[in-house]
Symmetry: none
Subunit: 382 residues, 2 copies
DNA sequence: CTACGCCGTGAATCTGGGG
DNA sequence: TCCCCAGATTCACGGCGTA
């Protein structure tokens, strides 16, 4: 039984349109080798729930650039980023967006990331194609490359555009999941996240970076948590080293990647094979309940529903932690944090929904702490 | 004596092009009543140093949107044709940007602010018009309006696009001023500033806000400090309540505003009259090193500040060299060259700033030779 | 074992004046 | 228009080696 079948019927019902082709006949969890436009043409209408696209930025770089210490900046000089004119870039953009619009389900959404070099062309083409912009999201880089020559402001962000298929189209937005991720205030349109470096950055056999523009998993993690459900199908037409596939697998989403270059396909294949799905409870989004009063975890501790000193574990008892009087959790290894933070830290995930990840032994057996919260809520209501 | 005359000749010289019309014949520090395109047409070529534009955002409220023939776009209608509306907005944008490009000096810059509703159209039109994007700046609102329905991310930012007139055009960027404003680290492309509220928010006679999209003065303050000099002429073709004019006056810049509606002109006029210019010392930007008078190394040798035969080393004393009477350096290995050349050669670097690389033993200890130059400069000034 | 410092590096439209 | 050369210019991390 696949993950899809576990989605509650009420959520599945939000999918307004019927899949034109059974999922079994789609190339699921595979990298399709080829040109993105040609390859999308071979996919049926309205078959994917979400598209994440990281197209070439058309950087138009000039000569070499040196840091003040004399070292040279490793520039993006790949052929795939070269276009003769803005008109050529616009044609390319319109062509792939046309196919993207066709294969997207009517209640699906598309995300496209870019910089000032290309994002205005992309945004215009999205609107002209009939996509409806829901938000533009700013990825604020925590650690951008400086402007070495002191000629401009540090280019410290990139822009993502999030669109539904049409103005009145339904779409998935896991509002409460995003709010929980953001310390219980609404998630804003600016996200501060580090660039991809350290152990996450894939290297080729020579030890050089495998791809010049690898995106951080935290970015895709937030995108997918925000607007897909487990079992949903995510397409990435510019797959590169497969960040989209890795995060999809980790979050229990299905995926299709399209990539032209064998070297990237090879790296992505290995990477995704080495990625393990997260604990199932951690990937479920918080049920969308309107007007649910906010209950801090500390309130349950204060109120004696989860007394200090209680031991909580994940569903499979791989990790455990002790509840402190101030509502924080302490793990055996010495780490301390909120239910969300500690869950993320132990799993080495960028974020975690502590309410569904942490469980506690009750009269009903091992239950997520959210169950305790729900009972408390019910009591408050009565 | 006007402020302009106080600008050092070295800076004025950076203004490459001659004003087509003497500044005295321009309508300075005035609000011109009328349509922005028609009014710009009456201004001469290459007459303004900077343009700040806050064009109408909303594609569906056609109040500010007119077809080229003057008829109004009827957009608030369930049956409205999206393409027609976007096309009308694009025509309007191209028309005013064409005039903006014409009246901007060759070394001037333009700033346009917008949201995801219009900024992609604006950015595309800017690039198509030949403007060269220098940065896109994100105004991160410290206190944005929440998304009440919980259907999207909180729209917590707006975007500004900063362009020079052409790819190779010179432009003013007060790098060191921006760095100083930002605790001595490079100013980034994301600016966190509060929205306009409280006492700054202008009210009409009924106590309602005078303008729906009044921009905070802090935003204009940073823009003008970054890329204009005192005495420069700033144009705002969508003047509204005159934030641009107020900040220009405060910072000793000259300004021209264009506004169609009498009620805004009235509010702006009162506001600017009540704004006092800052003390002159407060409005000067930090001098850019590039604009400071050059002192040849040989001059210091001639003047006896660094006598021939002196030994200079790098900060860690890994390399040393002897100063020759002609201002060249000679290293022990026989290499001879300017302070820059020899520094680069010894480090095997593509280039080197000899002023900061080479050090000399003084009463203050081991100092970069630039310190000697700075002291010499200070003596010359007094 | 920790602390500290050095080194490498990241989607970058990255100098300007004089001869 | 091109060449030459003076000289201005970097932030946050992660990894690794040394004290």
């Amino acid at each position: 039984m696949g993950v899809l079948e576990k989605i509650p019927a009420t959520r599945r019902a939000r999918r307004a349109n019927v899949e034109a082709v059974p999922a079994a006949r789609l190339p699921l969890n595979e990298i399709l080798r080829g040109d993105c436009i040609e390859t999308m043409r071979a996919l049926p209408d309205r078959c994917v729930d979400m598209i994440f696209a990281d197209p070439p930025y058309n950087l138009q770089l000039g000569g070499d650039l040196h840091r003040p210490d004399g070292s040279q900046v490793d520039a993006v000089d790949d052929d795939w980023d070269k276009f003769d004119t803005f008109a050529a870039y616009d044609r390319f953009t319109r062509d792939w967006l046309r196919e993207a619009h066709r294969i997207l389900k009517d209640d699906g959404t598309i995300w496209v990331i870019g910089s000032y070099h290309n994002i205005f062309r992309v945004g215009t083409a999205l609107q002209d194609q009939g996509f409806w912009v829901l938000n533009d999201i700013v990825w604020r880089k925590a650690n951008p490359m400086p402007n070495f020559k002191g000629t401009r402001f540090t280019n410290a962000h990139e822009t993502l555009i999030w669109c539904s298929k049409a103005e009145k189209a339904k779409y998935t937005f896991n509002y409460r999941t995003m709010k929980a991720l953001n310390d219980d205030v609404q998630m804003r349109s600016d996200w501060t996240l580090p660039i991809c470096s350290g152990g996450e950055r894939l290297k080729d056999d020579d030890g050089h970076k495998a791809h010049p523009t690898q995106k951080p998993e935290s970015l895709l993690y937030r995108v997918m948590l925000a607007c897909t459900e487990p079992g949903d199908l995510v397409l990435d037409p510019f797959f590169g080293t497969g960040t989209t596939g890795a995060v999809a697998r980790r979050l229990g989403r299905r995926w299709i990647g399209i990539e032209r270059e064998d070297k990237y396909i090879k790296v992505a294949t290995q990477r995704i094979a080495a990625t393990l799905p997260l604990d199932e409870s951690a990937m479920m989004s918080i049920p969308e309940k309107k007007a649910m009063p906010r209950i801090a975890f500390g309130l349950l501790v204060e109120g004696g529903l989860i007394p200090p000193g209680s031991v909580v574990t994940d569903a499979r008892r791989r990790w455990s932690a002790t509840v402190r009087a101030d509502g924080m959790l302490a793990s055996g290894c010495g780490a301390i944090g909120s239910i969300h933070r500690l869950g993320a830290q132990l799993q080495k995930a960028p974020s975690c929904n502590g309410w569904s990840f942490w469980h506690i032994e009750t009269a009903q057996g091992l239950e997520p702490i959210d169950a305790v919260r729900q009972r408390h809520l019910a009591e408050l209501g009565s």
